[in-house]
């Protein structure tokens, strides 16, 4: 029983950080209607920035995060402004081509990092990396606990931003109906630039929080793209609340699978959940709320 509880809590902690990355992807998905396959690469870039700040300047990853986030916001906004927006303009090109473009961006980012840092595994050395807090027989890893709560704060801040601020409502309106948003006087391109920037900043935050726990190498991006993609589908495309609980679910499944089946298949369990969701709940977690409500378009 204690084993189970331990695995469950570790899963939730890890899942909270996955959720942060996936929410960045789902935010972009909601507004752009495309899956950003460079998302994991953006996480990876965020991790390298945090890593360099730590190794070169001795900055703690949790402080480096506040430099990685604005940097990635800028990188994401520039990618949208200079690359993706150009493709949207061309009528004859299918939306799939925007997805292909994100694949290209992913390759460029990954190989640039390989050029700079080689394919070596790297990790940051922190005093708390292997420390644990013990509560009634359960031990909580310090970096995972900090990571989870910081992620939670970011998710809440994003939620408030989207619900309460003028700009947040502009983003939601564009996600719900891009044309209707233009009737209201909302400039769609500006909104997509800001949204891509925000999504990238969240990816960087997720990466920085995971840095004390994970090894870092240029190809780690693929892992995060796959996880974020699964969580995005699991949550119901474009749903932020759905993506948050989807992230927790994937984290818990990985953790339980690693405890009770085999550690080696850790990344397979998420894919199993993915298949099950596609088969039995194709609308994602989002569809559990108002299952019968059909939205008019």
């Amino acid at each position: 029983m204690l084993d189970f509880l331990q695995a469950l809590i570790w899963g939730i902690l890890l899942g909270g950080m996955y959720a942060l990355i996936a929410i960045g992807m789902t935010l972009i998905m909601g507004v752009m209607k495309i899956i950003n396959l460079a998302h994991g690469a953006l996480v990876m870039v965020g991790m390298y920035i945090t890593y360099v700040l730590n190794v070169q300047f001795g900055l703690d990853p949790y402080i480096g995060l506040f430099i990685a986030m604005p940097t990635l916001f800028l990188l994401g906004a520039l990618i949208q402004l200079l690359l993706i927006n150009r493709i949207i303009d061309v009528d004859a090109i299918l939306p799939e081509n925007q997805v292909l473009l994100t694949v290209g961006i992913m390759v460029v980012l990954t190989e640039t990092m390989r050029l700079l840092f080689h394919s070596d595994y790297r990790s940051v050395q922190t005093s708390y990396a292997s420390e644990n807090i013990h509560i009634g027989g359960i031990s909580l890893s310090v970096p995972m606990t900090i990571g989870f709560f910081v992620a939670l704060v970011f998710v809440l801040l994003l939620h408030l931003f989207l619900k309460k601020t003028h700009y947040g409502r502009m983003i939601r309106a564009t996600a719900e109906d891009r044309i209707a948003a233009q009737y209201m006087g909302i400039p769609p391109k500006t909104v997509t630039v800001v949204t891509f920037g925000l999504g990238s900043a969240l990816a960087a935050a997720g990466g920085a929080l995971l840095l004390p726990i994970f090894y870092l190498w240029p190809d780690i991006g693929h892992l995060f793209t796959a996880k974020a993609f699964i969580i995005t589908i699991l949550g119901g495309l474009g749903s932020i609340v759905g993506a948050f609980f989807g992230g927790l679910l994937i984290g818990v499944f990985e953790s339980l699978g690693a405890t009770y089946v085999s550690m080696g298949y850790k990344d397979v369990y998420g894919l199993v959940v993915f298949l099950l969701v596609l088969l039995f709940l194709p609308g994602g977690l989002k569809s559990l709320r108002f299952p019968a409500l059909r939205r008019e378009r």
Binding site: A180, Y183, R295
Partner: protein, 238 residues
Amino acid sequence: MLHIEQLNAGYGDVQILWDVTLDVRPGELIALVGANGAGKTTLLNAISALVTRYRGKILFDGKDLTRLAPYEVARLGIAHVPEGRRLFPGMTVRENLEVGAMSKEARSKLKTSLEEVYSLFPILKERERQEAGTLSGGQQQMLAIARALMSRPKLLMIDEASLGLAPKVVGEIYDTLLDIRKAGLTMLIVEQNVALALDVCQRAYVLENGRVAVSGECKKLQNDPKVQEAYLGIIEGI
């Protein structure tokens, strides 16, 4: 206020509008009528910059609209209630209205505007916290009009306000539109129900196959035998 001259427009290579000329003067209620596929919606979309304009002029308060993007047209003070209403279904009634007030000026008068539209459509105040997608058809149409009013427009364009609604609800909506007009707002409405449109408007343009077939004062058009036969179902001698 709005002056359209020799406008040719369409979707990509498919031309819909041919040499359309139209004028809207301040304070007027103008109706665009015609059969399905006559080009009424396309004309509104051409003003809102959502279709390709090939040739011709669209001037609003002297400014040329043909080179502007849709959001820029909206910011000049043209509010468009689109066909099918296009609300933001997952956002609440209140949030839909708040998004309607996008410009700085409209936002500074948000409270006044909210009070105004709630007094025009009291049901929206009752449903304030409900998601727009869960409203009835009539309430959705009211919300779409209210959302457009939130921008405090100079010109209100409404596409098919009566479509798919019960006659009683249509009556309520048109009563409110007439109240808004009395307050001085200029309106350009597209209406499939020709009898209804000619009843409320001052001048009307009848579109046929993308061209203006007839235009003039609504009272005169109501008595025009050609219009009666084609659109009002009145045939002489019966």
